[in-house]
Symmetry: C2
Subunit: 146 residues, 2 copies
DNA sequence: TGCTAGATGATACACAGTCTCAGGTGGATC
DNA sequence: GATCCACCTGAGACTGTGTATCATCTAGCA
């Protein structure tokens, strides 16, 4: 749950035009607690009776990512999802049942990455760490329930 | 560059049948230095005049992954690739120019992951760390060259 | 109130990956 | 070696994600 305005402003500040479709996508994105896929956003828009082209959803999520208001992560199994989140570099712990995600700071990982670079001789430009498991709520919930 | 026999044996040990298509895929996979995609394997088979259905390439890579002879990684930008590698849990440093990859041990990361689990309350079941950069050879090579 | 670069949606497209199903084959058994 | 069947295969259809194209529209500025 984020402030829709924060997303819209981020786009504005970066020089993107504030159009109706972008506002709609921003609002839907802001209303999401965990991660979400492009398809989910498109579906919710449709369900709410808002008409936004599929391509525009992708383009807007792209823009939001470039503005660092949203981050794209890889789902185990092969898909992709987005999470609304803070601009500083960090990583996510994603609940594999309900999708709720928490951000974790990079801190000690940065040091680890540097040391790997030193050891392997690679100049490491990019790294991605993603953690999957069960959030506290889902651990407490009975096995089969959804 | 791996021993094709190691891959074939891994399948055999796990109870998979040793068929001609599987041997072919194993051989092509074994001949690869860095990472590779399913499409690349299919293309190389075709180029060599070996007939292997596209579906079978996917199925065999799947089997090889299940047997832990190969690992599937996420490429920045959205695709997927595989790397032939050791069965123990570890991660990869992948050269974003030439694709050559090096394995790095999990070691200190495991501890970091545990501490993240403790801090967030999540029961972390799975984690993926992928590192991208330039290998020593590609750092040395002139800027635009391939 | 124009004007125009930038944005939109429809549609077509490219591509990865999965599924189905009729036919083929490894390898165990005799 | 011949038999047999569970497992495997290739062809091709299908699904889903993401991108490209292009005629049309519009935000934001003068
Ligand atoms: Zn984030
Ligand atoms: Zn959960
Ligand atoms: Zn590996
Ligand atoms: Zn390289």
């Amino acid at each position: 749950m984020t402030d829709p305005l924060a997303l819209v402003n981020a786009l504005d500040d970066a020089g993107y035009r504030l159009t109706a479709p972008r506002r709609s996508v921003a609002e839907i994105v802001a209303g999401r607690a965990g991660h979400f896929t492009a398809a989910e956003i498109a579906a919710e828009a449709r369900a709410r009776g808002i008409h936004v082209g599929r391509a525009t959803v992708f383009r807007t999520l792209d823009a939001l990512e470039r503005v660092e208001a949203v981050e794209r992560i890889d789902i185990p199994g092969g898909g992709h999802a987005y999470v609304a989140c803070e601009p500083a570099h960090h990583h996510h712990v994603v609940c594999s049942r309900c999708g709720r995600s928490v951000e974790v700071e990079d801190g000690r990982l940065a040091a680890l990455v540097r040391s790997i670079g030193r050891r392997t001789g690679y100049r490491i430009d990019e790294h991605r760490l993603e953690l999957y498991g069960l959030c506290t709520a889902c651990q407490a919930a009975p096995e089969g329930s959804r």
